[in-house]
Amino acid sequence: MLLVNKGQFTDWLNQLIQVYQVYAPVKEDDYFCFKKINSGDQVTLNYTNSKVPPKEVLFPRSEKLFCYRYENGGVQLTEQIDESKKIIVGLRPCDAKSFLLLDGVFNSDKYHDPYYLTRRNNTVLVGLGCNQPAATCFCTSLGGGPFATEGLDLLLVDIGDRYVVEVLTDRGRELLSGLELPAADQEAQEAARRVKEGAALSTQVNLEGLKSKLDVIFYDPIWDLIHEKCLGCAACTYTCPTCHCFDIVDEAEGNEGCRIRNWDACMFPLFTLHGSGHNPRPTGKERFRQRVMHKFKYFVDNFNAIACVGCGRCIINCPVNLDIREVLAEIQGSEVRSDKQ
């Protein structure tokens, strides 16, 4: 464990900016988002949770896959892989965990997504522990915690005027190499311990037995009503750190253009609409069920992990206050019926 004072930390960010693209929480309107910074002063680290998760650094809202150009009777393709070195500073442990989940999707046994994976391999993650988790946070129910280190290279613990730095990987150590930070003394370690103890979560979600319930609940009438107030927008999915669905479109100008991928959402009817007009998920019921099933059953089947880190963003951002904690509680409380169509 090392120690860095906050002034020194800002200087350090300014140094890093010379070599890396540094992304950090920046205040925008009334919330925080991870932005590429030009100066350490832009960063605000006493934030609760960013509006849009830092997944957008590795998996942007819109990104070019390749550009094409028709010429000499053929077509020229240019890959658009972002190979820049990046650092994400100040991300929360829950968001760091989400990258481990996304890794499974984009690095499957059969296919590797070079856009995500190249960024992922070139990005160092400097986490920030949560001294004051929000009332909507439930990371501990999902095996995480306000000071969980999983997926991080460094973890900062805010002890007032200084950060205690936990070095978690060689990559993290390398990042600090020029700094010659002192080891955290007894007093700082004690302060960090107190901060961690004080960071209790007020929300727990009971996930015990949920998976086996979802295994047999697909045709249950519970889905008829549970989605009823859902508007079918993508506020939950686009602000979810583990949601990764996307669309691929072309944009052309004359004889050249680009293929672009954009975030997409299972909540939209068009998402699954066949060319024939048939839609396997025709109403809000099927789409909402898909979202819950994908996170809490299908992802578990395929990757042995729940695709939720308990960040609470979907709770905060839902325009109708459809709260995933209540949805799960309702499913847990329902009687299991035989799963027949």
């Binding site: 393709l77 669905c245 996307f246 691929i248 299972c266």
Partner: protein, 279 residues
């Protein structure tokens, strides 16, 4: 790292109006680079994403067979923006193709077995690939009897009419074509695929049934196959959910925990029985 999103350039060498209603065209594409063709090793049942640069890409089952080297064939219905553009393209246009994607018909398991291939409408594309593969002199001996039941609303809507005529003449394939209603000049069968399947009554013993067609055809043919003794494990189907990436990442084609693009599109009836009905 191999980039699974980058299409291989191919030239459209033939844009053929396949059906009388002109809604289905068959496209023949040739690889621009020889080495790409060597990389593109596919088997019947697999699909590919075809790109019209600037418009987009769409997934189509590969209608040609690996026994027909030098080109790929796709039969495409005009339904959306990519397919409509494709239909209008002049021969010679350079397109992109990504693939092969998905799994293939279990041709290894089929060996030594009788095959009943049932198709309806324009969902005959990968079935053509399968039949062509099996009929190839190198493979025909590996398989038992081959029965093909293929139906369309009217004769003009049957795909691959020249080939059907050739198959008619062959002794090693029992081809039964049927149309929904009698038409002058049609000497073949008349009736819906489920009824005709019942009449033809292929034996389920030591056999697999491969079925592809519109949902209503599948729905009514299933009980017929069951009656004939085909167990769910003996019935092979190909699904067609909306797809984008084709590699199990974009999230839209899943049926339960399986992705049609990566884990399918070929499933046995038994496998589908374990999955929700979202297809």
């Amino acid at each position: 790292m191999k980039n699974p999103y980058l299409p291989l350039p191919m030239r459209l060498v033939k844009n053929f109006v396949e059906t009388e209603d002109k809604l289905i065209h068959t496209f023949t594409l040739e690889f621009l680079n020889e080495e790409d063709e060597k990389l593109f090793q596919y088997l019947p049942g697999q699909f590919a994403e075809v790109s019209v640069f600037g418009v987009g890409e769409a997934p189509f089952g590969i209608a040609s067979s690996p026994t027909e080297p030098g080109h790929l064939k796709f039969s495409v219905a005009k339904v959306g923006v990519v397919t409509t553009t494709l239909h209008q393209l002049p021969e010679g246009t350079v397109l992109g193709v990504r693939g092969p994607l998905g799994n293939n018909y279990p041709i290894e398991e089929f060996k030594g077995k009788n095959l009943v291939v049932i198709g309806g409408g324009f969902a005959f594309t990968t079935l053509r690939s399968l039949i062509t593969y099996i009929l190839h002199p190198d493979h025909r001996g590996d398989y038992g009897e081959l029965t093909v039941i293929y139906g369309a609303r009217n004769p003009g809507l049957l795909l691959y009419k020249d080939e059907l005529a050739e198959w008619e003449k062959r002794p090693d394939i029992n081809l039964v074509c049927t149309i929904d209603r009698p038409v002058e000049g049609w000497n073949g069968r008349v009736g819906f695929v489920p009824t005709v399947t019942k009449e033809v009554a292929p034996s389920a013993e030591n056999a697999y049934a491969v079925i592809c067609g519109p949902p209503v055809m599948i729905k009514f043919t299933m009980p017929v196959l069951e009656e004939l003794g085909f167990a769910p494990e003996q019935i092979i189907m190909s699904l067609e959910n909306r797809m984008k990436c084709g590699i199990g990442m974009c999230g839209r084609c899943n049926v339960g925990n399986k992705y049609v693009c990566k884990d399918g599109p070929i499933f046995t009836r038994a496998q589908l029985n374990q999955l929700p009905n979202e297809y």
